[in-house]
Amino acid sequence: MELGLHVKQAEVHGMSQRGGAVESHLRLSSREIFSDLIPLGKADLILSVEPMEALRYIPFLAPDGMIVAATEPIENIGNYPDKEKVLATIRQSAQHLLVEAEPLARQAGSGRAGNVVMLGAASPYLGISTEQLEAAIARFFERKGDEVVNMNLNAFRLGRALAIKEDETSK
């Protein structure tokens, strides 16, 4: 909004607290956005905090799209597949960045900051500057005090550093 971009974000409510899969379509554009839903095969990025869930939305991913996914499975179903096979499938499916989010979150100061680690890891692919994202994080956690703000900024930076390092190694 602050950058003058058009925004649409569609989400499925109501199922998360009962353990169901939750998806959200985020569209950012300098042009007017019509559809709230991303067309199949047109998503630039799948950002997932769970590896199998990243694969669920592959039909939406553009041919040159990118998957950024946390590697820690949420195994709340009896038939959860083998984790290594899931990760291997991601590697075969698209450009990807797999993030062990939890250790990075703990390194930042809280195991609960995994989502912000993932945002950091996805940040090189968002088309929004680091400064803007960090300012938004600071504002989002402002009410909870400096300590929480700094912890989340750390989490963001650790995720981002990993993404940049991986990107350089792959070149």
């Binding site: 909004m1 974000q9 353990g19 007017e32 019509f34 199998m52 899931v86």
Partner: protein
Amino acid sequence: MTKLLLGAEAIAQGALDAGISGVYAYPGTPSTEITEFIQRAQRDPGKAVRSAWSTNEKTALEAALGMSYAGKRSLVCMKHVGLNVAADPFMNASITGVHGGLTIVVADDPSMHSSQNEQDSRVYGKFAMIPVLEPANQQEAYEMTRYAFEMSEKSRLPVMLRVPTRLSHSRSTVKRGEPKGQNPLNPSTGKGQWVLLPANARGNYQRLLEKQEELVALAESSPFNWVKEWNEGETDHDRETNPVGTSNRDGKTDQGGTTTQVSNDIIDGVTNGITGVIAFGIGYNYVMEVIRAYNLPVEVLKIGAYPLPRNLVSRFIEKHNTLLIVEEGYPVYEELLKGYRGDDALRGRLDGTLPRTGELSPGLLAKALGVETAEPNAMPAIVKGRPPMLCPGCGHRDLFHALNEVMRSYPNHRVFGDIGCYTLGALPPFNAIHTCVDMGAAITMAKGAADAGMRPALCVIGDSTFTHSGITGLLDAVNDRSPLTVIISDNETTAMTGGQDSAGTGRFRDICRGIGVEEKHIRTVVPLKRNHEENVKVIREELEYEGVSVIIAQRECVQTAKRKRKKE
């Protein structure tokens, strides 16, 4: 002032800025967030808008009508199936008409993301012969809500605002207008208007019929109905919006009837021969997405305000040889426009150009307009389903375990169920309930089955569902002395929709006693693992009683408890 809002929140903001004095609603996906937004806004001092939850949609709509009678503006919100519950006041409020502006928001759920059907509320709007507004985006949701109140007071009719899940639950930027103050208390002095005795009702109905022409005229010139002409190479066109009915438009409204024929020959095979699209509500977004992505030479008539603007539609249809009708929901207007003889030049959901059921998408519109898109990659086979399930530690779980143990003694048993989190008890690993039809039906269906001789006749209903529509059914059972056991699974909240207040919390014993259930057959159990044996015993005892018994299985929802702990 620009804000990032859900479609539902844009409606709520629009209603607040339109100067409502009250919102009345029963929670229901995807409408819940409207009322919740208004409840949160009550923290602002000096904005006294009445906003607590109603017991059901019927009580909500009637109260809103009463507020309108008193001269103030009121909002009522519900999901599509909630309108079935409120259908009686809904149909009759169009006969009485209104005094203060009354807007009825109905959130439809195409594809049944969280519902038992995908009924299209526009049919109800037509049935009641009231104006219906259908926004395509969050800004329109805001503007139309404000406009709805103006229109309601002008036409003296309730106005329906219909939104689908996809708009209600999607965020975008919304530019607010200047807020309006509330109406003063000014009760209606109309006499016959509000007393629907046949003699009065006949007159009112006649006046409603006479108003129809005026409503069509309003729709013809509505700021929400317009033609988006095709401009080759036009890929971007940002719409500057001004709040409330004065919005600029992308295209010019085809008011004068002088139009240019769109040439058919350049596009044959590119758009399936379709040169014109009539897009209703959010359908417009998917059409525009495709037209812009593939630069298709197609003209669009966008409809956001009903009744159907006849002249606008006729002129548009005459201009095009082949048209696509795009409706999110039932093919309501496609059926009307195609007519009994079935005009082949009108494509849509009825001839398979678009699917007959389910939500629209850019992909479906691309296909309908003849665009060959690359087949998307398939979801890898390794991905397993992750269905929703009862939370770990949920009291419903312990109840179902106890229930299942008892029911093992009754081969081929059936248990009547209802709507709420506990409907998940129909799925493995519980397989404990066998019906889920509509709010309150657990009790009345079990009663009917008991009357037919089924033993044991047993049902499970949630606390909020019980107060919503279960009490009257229980009274029927008491009056009829039906051998029936009702388990009220009381988690002290309306959990399914996110933990809203439940109307009868703390009073279920009293309610059941008041209806006439015998004191000794109103039992209370706490569904916990450690109480398993005792709970099994209580259920067994009451199943053996040849009369009405109620078991209140009472334990706070684990999610509510978690939220409370977080707050402390």
